[in-house]
């Protein structure tokens, strides 16, 4: 298993796209912090980039990578190796290398330019989002044999999590505005890792005062030590469940 991880890791790190992604993130975060006069504004601009670009790159790159290594996977399957290990090492290699490039590209500047606790939360969320979307990509890739269809599914999933879901929430909030929606909001945020990540980061920043009453509801729940741990738990369970689903599919798949 270690050998496969090592191989996947090295293969991806040699990939020009991942290198480009790292440099792109590095350039954007450096220029954002240098252009804005205070670091909290820079952080806000970066927040949007992280919440859109990171999931997009993670999901698309991983899907394409899985399809491109179809022959490699077939070769591995013909060896005396457990499918669980093959799939697990592919996941670890992908998640690890993309996390590494996020850490270098965005995590480093964030840690340098911003206060410790916000920087840590932001980097942590970026890493979690990377891993979650790698897991989602692997799920999308295992569903269908057709490469075009698989990439389509991943793009749709990305669109759903970053845009459609929010539209849906907005729709529900207005349809049921006569009802108390506090609990619904907390649950809804748990159903979308991007929303949850954004709210957790915002709660750490001064700007959360703007969120008024709604912010207070979230702060009540996620602001405490235990709430924060619950939120991290939710994000981790996103990784575990999606990966487990894709693994189950892969185990039974006729390659």
């Amino acid at each position: 298993m270690k050998k496969i991880i090592k191989y996947v890791f090295a293969d991806i790190l040699r990939n020009k796209i991942v290198l480009g992604y790292t440099i792109f993130l590095l350039l954007i975060s450096m220029s954002v912090f240098n252009l804005e006069d205070n670091s909290s504004k820079g952080l806000l601009s970066l927040l949007n980039i992280i919440l859109i670009i990171v999931p997009l790159v993670s999901i698309i790159f991983s899907t394409i990578y899985i399809y491109n290594s179809a022959e490699f996977i077939e070769l591995l399957v013909s060896q005396p190796l457990k499918r669980k290990h093959i799939w697990g090492s592919l996941f670890t290699g992908l998640a690890g290398s993309l996390s590494l490039s996020f850490l270098v590209g965005a995590g480093l500047p964030v840690m340098i330019y911003t206060p410790m606790d916000i920087g840590l939360v932001m980097t942590g969320m970026g890493l979690l989002l990377t891993v979650i979307f790698v897991a989602i990509a692997m799920f999308a890739a295992v569903i269908t044999r057709d490469k075009a269809k698989g990439i389509g599914i991943s793009i749709f999933l990305w669109l759903y999590f970053s845009l459609l879901f929010d539209g849906l929430v907005l729709f529900i909030l207005f349809q049921f505005e006569d009802y108390p929606l506090e609990k619904f909001m907390v649950v809804a945020s748990a159903l979308n890792p991007i929303d949850l990540g954004r709210i957790l980061i915002l709660l750490k920043m001064d700007i959360s005062a703007l969120m008024g009453y709604t912010g207070a509801v979230f702060r009540d729940f996620f602001g405490t030590q235990s709430g924060f741990i619950i939120a991290i738990g939710i994000l981790l369970s996103w990784i575990i469940t999606t990966f487990w689903l894709s693994l189950r599919k892969f185990n039974r798949k006729d390659l």
Binding site: N48, L170, R198, D206
Partner: protein
């Protein structure tokens, strides 16, 4: 006998002086006398001034209220209190114990004192034409209940509050039923509730004050004829904090102020005929929140810079004018180069309307979805109030 009434004697208080306590010197004084107090610590319970005298401290003698007493009570006209350090007044929830309290008197002058750990600082009850100048007030009360107001004026007229520094109190400066007065060059910061709390106080002016980091900012209510010039409202940041909160204000003038880093720069409710001009709104959450109950206000020649939302409102009825401002979010063009944009600017974003209608949608704050909505609304306005727009937005920031 004649000379005494016209010039007044000077009585000295201190160790080895004629009088060792201030109270005994006051008892011996007649109207027009001066009392000079040497440096030292004086524990005299309550000092009652009932004669027109000048009480001056040499190098800040300490008057200690021992956490029990009102330190100085002024019950005579024309009294001057200068250069003392007053500490530890009593605290009471039944009566308003102050460091220095003026009881229904006129022409009192309180200047250059330091007040520390007093319940109310300087309290003027029905004072007329009094001067409160260059005092430093610091309270250490931990809750709103345990601390009184810094400079508290009730039913006064023609007051001058100049150059004071107030911090740690409940309200920095409190005005209720005070008319024709001026608040000038004061600094009020880190007070528990409001930096300035102002009610039923007509025809007052406050000029060149700094209100910083107060629990809820500044609140001006139920008043007409207020002039606010060149003040700085800064870092009043919190769920219920405003740079300045205006409620039921009419015929007033707000000019040359700076609103920096507040949750809402100005929050207006039920105001009418106010002219807001030449102010700077910078890095606020909401530059201005103007409720639909506001009428005939004119907002002109202001700079709106890097606010999260420039203007927020809660209804579609807009009877205020927003022309000739500079908005940094303006994306229009100026073909004839007259420094006025050719297409109107709509300072209310769709998302801020949505939030006003349904606060729960703050959940989507800063999401991709909302910025997309805002962009499409900018191109084709449907939900934002039709009349809330700047018809003549200025292209370059004004030099204020």
């Amino acid at each position: 006998m004649i000379c005494c009434t016209s010039f007044g004697r000077t009585l000295f208080v201190g160790k080895g002086r004629q009088y060792t306590s201030i109270n005994s010197a006051i008892a011996a004084a007649v109207n027009g006398d001066s009392i000079r107090v040497d440096n030292g610590i004086y524990r005299e319970k309550n000092i009652l001034i009932n004669k027109t005298i000048t009480l001056v401290g040499n190098n800040y003698p300490v008057l200690d209220g021992e956490h029990k007493y009102e330190i100085i009570s002024i019950k005579a006209d024309g009294v001057t209190v200068k250069g003392f350090r007053l500490i530890h007044s009593g605290v009471s929830s039944m009566e308003d114990i102050a460091g220095i309290k003026i009881y229904n008197r006129h022409d009192v002058n309180i200047s250059g004192n330091i007040l520390e750990d007093t319940f109310f600082g300087i309290y003027s009850q029905a004072g007329v034409n009094c001067l409160i100048e260059n005092n430093k007030l610091t309270a250490i009360g931990t809750t709103e209940q345990q601390s009184g107001n810094g400079i508290h004026c009730w039913k006064c007229d023609s007051m001058r509050i100049i150059g004071n520094t107030v911090t740690g109190h409940r309200d920095g400066i409190y005005f209720e039923f005070v008319t024709n007065s001026v608040i000038w060059r004061n600094i009020s910061f880190r007070n528990k509730r409001y930096g300035l709390h102002f009610m039923f106080s007509h025809n007052d002016a406050y000029i060149c004050n700094i209100f910083q980091n107060n629990g809820a900012g500044v609140s001006v209510m139920f008043t007409h004829g207020v002039k606010m010039f060149n003040n700085v409202f800064e870092e009043n940041w919190g769920d219920a904090a405003y740079g300045i909160f205006l409620k039921e204000i009419s015929d007033s003038y707000i000019a040359g102020n700076k609103f920096l880093r507040n949750t809402s720069g100005i929050y207006m409710e039920g105001t009418s005929r106010i002219l807001v001009e030449k102010n700077e709104f910078s890095s606020n959450g909401w530059g201005m929140k103007i409720q639909a109950s506001c009428l005939d206000n004119t907002i002109t020649h202001n700079n709106f810079l890097s606010n999260t939302f420039d203007v927020g409102t809660n209804g579609s009825l807009v009877m205020n004018s927003f022309d000739h401002n500079y908005w940094d979010k303006y994306e229009g063009y100026d073909l004839n180069k007259d420094n006025t944009g050719d297409i109107p600017y709509r300072p209310v974003s769709l998302y801020s309307m949505i939030v006003e209608k349904n606060p729960a949608s703050m959940m989507l704050f800063r999401s991709f979805m909302t910025s997309l909505l805002d962009k499409s609304e900018k191109i084709l306005p449907t939900l934002t109030p039709e009349n809330l727009k700047d018809n003549y937005p200025i292209m370059k920031p004004l030099h204020l």
